[in-house]
Amino acid sequence: MKYWQYLVRRLTGGVVSLLGLSIIIFGVSRILPGNPARMALGAMASEKQVRELSREMGLTDPLWQQYVQYMQGLLTGDLGQSLETKREVATDIAQYLPATLELITVAMMFTVVFGIPLGVIAAQNKDGAVDHATRLVAFFSVSVPGFFIGVMFQLIFGYLLEWFPITGRLASEYSVDRETGFLLVDTLAAGQVDAHLNVWLHLLLPALALSMAGMGQVMRITRSSMIDVQDQDYVAAERGFGLPSWLVTYKYTLKNAFVPTLTILGLLYASLLGNAFLIEVVFSWPGLALYGVTAVMNNDFNAVVGVTMTIGVAFVSINFVIDVLLGRVDPRIRLQVEEAT
């Protein structure tokens, strides 16, 4: 089997998972007690109104027809109306998604930019002070609730030290054309340097709080794989040929050590997406997660489906990208896959 065939198979698996997910969500919404039409209209609506809306929503059709309809909607991006905002769910998602992506991307950046070098340094000073410190940080970061870190950051750096704003994405005195929805990009494109810096100020605390959990894991896994790779003959050989030691460490050793790290970046993305729900609530970050939480609280089912499926798609795509990257970074994985079949 060629590597691309393997990738296609993985992608198919992902799509099947998404299909399963849609069935679960559909099933949960239709089989469980509680009429969606009743929920949509609220307790005050009359039986007649509910019956009419039920017919309108197709709730009286056979289940499989309902599912086909529901899937048609999902596939064409027609996710129905949000009960809360009275707008198309797809429109809402398009509006809120960039804020979440911006937050997660910056958090991921922090995770990688701090986590990997610290892991490398810890590996080079095995059992030294830095090493012990990273172990403690890692332990701390997987044990502390994400939202609690956010609250502590707000308390210390927001309320007490007043270094950073506590909520939101941009101070109200700035107005920016939301071309892409990514404020870092938009402000820069418009040449508003002040506003751009202000966006960073708003981003820093939530992104850092979000990145904490993953940072510890990345540090530890980078450390342990660096230690494994450092002992390999080829590293000794590269040093023996008198190559610059930074080159041996950060190019030749790290690329090998990067494979396990890359494998967990997929899992990490999951935990980032999950924790984003908490962090967005803490920092009132107007993103997809906050929208999703609001939808859950208001029984806004179309919106919940939209958010869930969006995240499912994001998750499957990220894992696919990581599969592609793995094959590129480590030819051994490609060969293993190709030889295994």
Partner: protein
């Protein structure tokens, strides 16, 4: 002229009274115990001995590949007139990649699996021995201008020289896609890229099967001649040593026990250990030696007193247990560390010949086992 420098006053590498010890959990282990050796210009020298005799540690100490601590290194190592032990790291690195080069033991594990052969060779060609290259300089010379293309050309040239079939496509291959023999050729090419004066080779080719191994050794002989290399080779395979080297050091228990020009060593080995080795070479193949000598390499935490070989030596007597023997010169270019050749000690035996040892070997098995346990060798 001492025995360490039998090749004239100006050896390219000389090691004097080298001690390497390791502080371990169970105590101090002196794995290299006062080694003297030298490599003359244009000379091919082999250090031979069983696994665990300290030959690899000697090599690593020369190349500064041991981290201190846990290793403790003492002694003098001179390369082309420069004392290496006191040399600052930066200058040592410059020597290491450009004037000294090395080939590691296992071709399977000595190439980086995640980079193409071309990338590794070109980096070595451009930056080997230039450990002071900064990130910016690296990026500039790696990606801008024609320097990279030149380096790759040099790498292809070198692959051709090591008789690599289809070198251009090998440049684009990952090590996992190459056979063991091809990888060994890549490693040799990599070692010779920067035109070193001294090549240090650890167990070259021994991980390969016999036919490929022979090809590689023949290739190496040609390359040594073409590039006018001085070579310090390390092997446990006396057949390999015999094929390529001018002179051989035999190492046992962290000490050099005998040195002689290759022909002389094989014709008339002097040290009982060397005799045992030579006697146990299978006639046709070059299989690992030392199966004929009973017992095993000594523990370094608590080595045998006196001559470290005495628990396994068929000719051992009182003096061997009490003092470390002195090195007795034999002619101008050979020497042996054994009391049997020391006129001041009256050995109870005559110096044995290869034939006597060969005859002995049938009978020493049980005898030496008892001596080993009696003398607390373990």
């Amino acid at each position: 002229m001492t025995l360490a420098e039998p090749i004239g006053d100006d050896p390219i590498l000389s090691v004097r009274d080298l001690h390497v010890g390791f502080d371990s959990f169970d105590g101090f282990a002196d794995v290299v115990d006062g080694v003297d050796l030298s490599v003359g210009r244009g000379e091919v020298v082999t250090v031979a001995g069983e696994t665990g005799c300290g030959k690899s540690v000697t090599m690593k100490a020369i190349l500064r590949l041991l981290s201190e601590p846990p290793a403790q290194i003492e002694g003098e190592i001179t390369f082309d007139g420069t004392e290496l032990r006191s040399l600052p790291k930066r200058e040592f690195d410059r020597l290491k990649g450009r004037r000294m080069s090395l080939i590691f033991q296992d071709p399977m594990s000595s190439l980086n699996p995640t980079f193409t052969v071309g990338e590794q060779l070109a980096d070595t060609a451009q930056f080997g021995g230039r450990s002071d290259t900064g990130v910016l300089e690296y990026v500039r010379r790696r990606y801008l201008g024609g320097e990279r293309a030149e380096a790759r050309e040099r790498a292809v040239e070198m692959l051709r020289e090591v008789q690599m079939p289809d070198p251009e496509s090998v440049m684009e291959s990952y090590p996992t896609q190459l056979s063991g023999g091809m990888r060994q050729r890549v490693l040799i090419a990599q070692a010779l890229l920067n035109d070193p004066d001294l090549l240090i080779a650890d167990e070259i080719g021994t991980a390969l099967d016999v036919t490929i191994h022979d090809q590689i050794m023949t290739l190496l002989e040609d390359l040594i001649a073409d590039h006018d290399l001085s070579v310090l080779m390390i092997t446990h395979n006396l057949g390999v040593a015999r094929q390529v080297s001018d002179r051989i050091y035999v190492m046992y228990g962290g000490r050099i026990v005998e040195t002689a020009p290759t022909a002389a060593l094989f014709d008339a080995p002097k040290h009982p250990y060397t005799q045992g080795l030579v006697a146990s070479i299978p006639r046709l193949t070059g299989d690992p030696m030392a199966e004929g000598i009973d017992g095993s390499v000594p523990e370094y935490l608590d080595p045998p007193s006196g001559c470290r070989f005495h628990p396994r030596c068929p000719y051992a007597h009182e003096a061997c247990r009490e003092h470390r023997p002195e090195t007795i010169p034999v002619g101008t270019d050979a020497g042996v560390e054994c009391v049997l050749y020391d006129d001041r000690h009256d050995a109870p035996y005559d110096a044995p010949t290869l034939e006597t040892t060969r005859a002995q070997m049938g009978t020493i098995a049980d005898q030496s086992q008892t001596t080993a346990s009696e003398l607390g060798g373990d």
